[in-house]
Symmetry: C2
Subunit: 560 residues, 2 copies
């Protein structure tokens, strides 16, 4: 048995409260190295005649990646306290693995064992229930629909008249979204994620100038209220984008600093290293990346913190929004996000908090900060496999199991699974224009645990390279929309809505296939299971379906 491969450390993804009464315990071992793992567990204070009283249960092998197997067990400790260890067998030897290392005999004293001291409800990672049943649609407001010509900026270009440039303006606005809600409802969308809509200078609005007002080019607070009302009536949730890492250059407090220097009462709102302020060759104040137009906030300053928390609560309280997506979330301090969570959840306990983090995000997903992050690791794996043929099926399965094992189940169930965004090339472009690949990607996305998101226009076959290419105007002429693609996606979304086991209520279990390019996985729920079979190639393949399965290829899919 390879001891060096065996890993466990309580909390994070290895031992966590799945809910207020259930613990999940995970163990990692070398791939195909261990035949069976039992967990040895008991209440730390239950002793009889000086002997600790424990139970044993077999763990389930959840899955594997390229190097490791992952084992899981659910435990409901009667008194919410647990000490536990592992008994590993490989046919040749049996080892006991505890907090103090490996033993040949089972240690007798609780002091040796791993500890989950107490399952306190308030510490349990708890995301809003509705998130796992939501299919999102991401809107970049300047490019979705122009519903009100009166708020068009000067120099506005005719809708879709040319390829977007970094500073193009096409006049999209909130009224344009209201006008097209039928399109979303028809598709089965029940959540909209808007990139920023507050007053800002650029067309993407990530350089906020006024956190308390809708950008006049997009409309005003009245239109937003109307939009939210309309959406709520249709059962569509609304998530706005909070840019709290930095503001825009023309944000009044920063302008005040530019004018008054150290005499400005906002001097400490930013990280200014020197005076006078300069922007070339590099800004001498902290910024997002090295962009002088995005001065970084000093979120440790109490006034800044209160100001931004006020922003956070204002839009929830006054406009009843359902979620905040947090831009550049991992560069802001943890302490700020803890306060943010407690403030916004005080007002609306089932608000969704989604952080933009591209990397490993466990430190933000422990129950005290975010509900989810943008799951770009899912995106990359899916695109590398299906869109780009960059990795093979085994690599894909390994990467998916690696990601899923890196987080608690409760986190995976609400992960924000996207195939692309305003920050990436469009997914059809990533597919080299091959629509069949995109259909497979949608099939994967819609049968995967988490909360899937469709980037505006992807559903009708829009293409486009990285920013600015991926930010073209939505195409509304029916004859220019790929309706076949859209209807395919619509079927998948409906299928997911009707069968939650296809979504977050089903666990992914990969299966082998004799066909190299066929990906098979089960979605295992508590009372039913699905088998998803995807042929990731243009060659036909014959796959066996075990007895008892009701084949949906034609029947059900056609009915949708």
């Amino acid at each position: 048995m390879l001891k060096e491969a065996i890993y466990h450390r309580p909390k994070n993804n290895y031992a966590y409260a799945y809910n207020s009464s259930t613990l999940h315990i995970r163990l990692r071992t070398k791939k195909d190295d261990v035949d069976a793992v039992k967990v040895i567990f008991g209440d730390p204070y239950t002793w009889e005649k000086d002997i600790w009283q424990y139970s044993k249960s077999l763990m389930l092998k959840e899955g594997s990646d390229d190097l490791f197997d992952y084992w899981l067990i659910e435990v409901e400790p009667e008194f919410r306290r647990l000490r536990y260890g592992f008994e590993l067998t490989d046919g040749k030897e049996t080892l006991f693995y505890t907090e103090r290392g490996f033993y040949k005999d089972v240690p007798k004293h609780t002091g040796y064992y791993f500890c989950f001291p107490f399952l306190n409800g308030i510490d349990v990672f708890t995301a809003p229930d509705w998130v796992k049943d939501t299919v999102w649609y991401q809107i970049f407001p300047e490019r979705f629909g122009n519903g009100d010509a009166s708020n068009d900026p000067s120099g506005v270009l005719p809708w879709g008249s040319e390829a977007p440039q970094p500073t193009s303006q096409f006049g999209g606005d909130l009224q344009g979204v209201i006008d097209h809600l039928d399109h979303l409802s028809d598709l089965g969308i029940n959540g909209i994620y808007f990139t920023p809509i507050f007053t800002a200078t650029s067309n993407h609005k990530y350089d906020t100038v006024d956190y308390f007002h809708i950008d006049p080019q997009f409309g005003d607070e009245k239109v937003l209220k109307q939009l939210i009302n309309e959406c709520h009536k249709r059962g569509i949730k609304i998530m706005l984008d909070a840019v709290f890492n930095h503001c825009g250059y023309y944000f009044e407090p920063f302008q005040d600093v530019l004018k008054k220097g150290k005499d400005s009462k906002y001097w400490d709102w930013f990280h200014i290293k020197d005076w006078p302020i300069q922007t070339d060759p590099k800004p001498n104040y902290d910024t997002f990346a090295f962009t002088p137009f995005m001065p970084k906030f000093n979120t440790e300053n109490q006034e800044v913190k209160e100001y931004l928390l006020k922003v956070g609560t204002y839009w929830v309280e006054e406009f009843d929004i359902d979620g905040w997506r947090l831009d550049v979330a991992n560069e802001v301090d943890h302490s700020f996000w803890r306060s943010f969570r407690s403030e916004v959840k005080r007002i609306k306990p089932d608000l969704y908090i989604l952080g933009e983090i591209w990397h490993d995000s466990m430190p933000w997903l422990q129950g005290d900060q975010f509900d989810a992050v943008m799951n770009y690791r899912f995106t990359t794996a899916a695109l590398d496999f299906i869109a780009k043929d960059k990795i093979d099926k085994q690599d894909f399965k390994d990467e998916v199991m690696n990601v899923l094992s890196s987080y608690p189940h409760s986190v995976n169930e609400v992960a924000f699974n996207l195939l692309g965004s305003h920050d990436t090339p469009r997914v059809l472009t990533e597919c080299g224009g091959h629509k069949e690949k995109l259909k497979l990607l949608y099939a994967l996305q819609m049968t995967f645990p988490g909360s899937p998101c469709v980037y505006y226009g992807d559903e009708i076959g829009m293409e486009g390279d990285n920013d600015p290419g991926c930010r073209a105007c939505m195409v509304w002429e029916k004859d220019k929309q790929d309706l076949d693609l859209m209807h395919g996606l619509k079927k998948l979304i409906n299928l997911r809505h009707r069968n939650t086991t296809l979504g977050s209520n089903g666990r992914v279990v990969f299966e082998d296939s004799p066909n190299k390019h066929v990906l098979r996985y089960k979605k295992v729920g508590s009372r039913e299971q699905f088998l998803v079979v995807l042929n990731v190639s243009d060659q036909s393949a014959v796959e066996k379906v075990p007895e008892g399965y009701d084949v949906w290829n034609d029947k059900v899919l056609a009915e949708q």
Copy 2:
């Protein structure tokens, strides 16, 4: 190269902010498997002509345990942001290890690398500076000194007249501590940790009845103020014991519940499962362990939280205490402790917060909760090796490196290193009465990073088994004190006070010795280093000391 053994995950002990400008990056590899590790690192936004700009630096092998080597590097990122990966060489192959796994060629894009997004000062684990220079003395007040006969409980036993029983009372009090402060100052003590002193029923006072008053058997608030004044004049810090997991059975709110049941306004202050309340065979309300006399608080109840936070701040604000030791700290929710930290540090930023946790404690030591935990893993390793001959030298070194590698350096520097407490047998008893072993243990403890603590009476050779044996009355008759032991300890404490490299400012680097029972380790500081050589046996041994060392055995130790 054994890929399965290689481990890194940002935050916790593997990548953390050591201070507001410095990151520590650690990597784990299989023992003796890798020749060299370089870290590849750079700012994520520094690109030239589409190529990410990074640097490379060799990592230091910090130490090893039985299975693994641990590598460390310090980095000061100019813009406080970092992406990084590892280049590992074993003579045969070179591998690149990143967040996405292993590669044969160096990945070009930052997306592959590990991410430390931003070094925000407010998130940095920061313990009070004075802690690493403190040598503590733990006092169990009922048994240290009876300075005021007028507050003796009825049925008090003559001081030291018999072996302590679970409910014995000997009349120790705070005046008794004031009377004996010279003893502590003489020893070199500059911190006292008191087990609970608030009104309670038992002799150990862990069943609090009144959180706002000194137990009348110990004195009153006036005496405490006097004691703290006296101590502060002598440069001695004061740490009190906060029992916030549970109260005593006779705590008024619990009594109110017993009387009024669900009509009590305190019903929700506890976790009561059923009515009427019963204590047999097991209490039908949550308790500490299964002790009916210690009902567990519902710290998620806002009133309870506010009440206990008020206790926490009251004794700091009104009595200027310097530390809180938190009883059964890991069974209380994280959310409570975060509020606790922010409340008490608001009043006294350099207050020491010490949690009682016997197990792996990383989740509480991330900067938002505790400054330290009671380092029982150090205790166990030291006793198993030196006192009990239960493990050999190699096991000891492995365990020590394992503990040190499990935490950030900043955490290790303020760990509460004890050899025993009111909850364990006395250390001399663990040594089977062998005083020479105890001297070695003190030499180890006083030359180890952390904040060492001496349990009252251990310094004069008191013995005693687990509770109640370890809680005997302090022996004040000079002729019954082991003055040789005490003077030996005094020398070591003074040596530590004068040479901070022997303490927390020195890194432990184990050395080989030709003698099986000789433990050698360097303490490596920034400008000096010490070599500690301990002969853990009763056989003589010859050890070589490298040139350039000034041997202190006789000279310096005799001078103290």
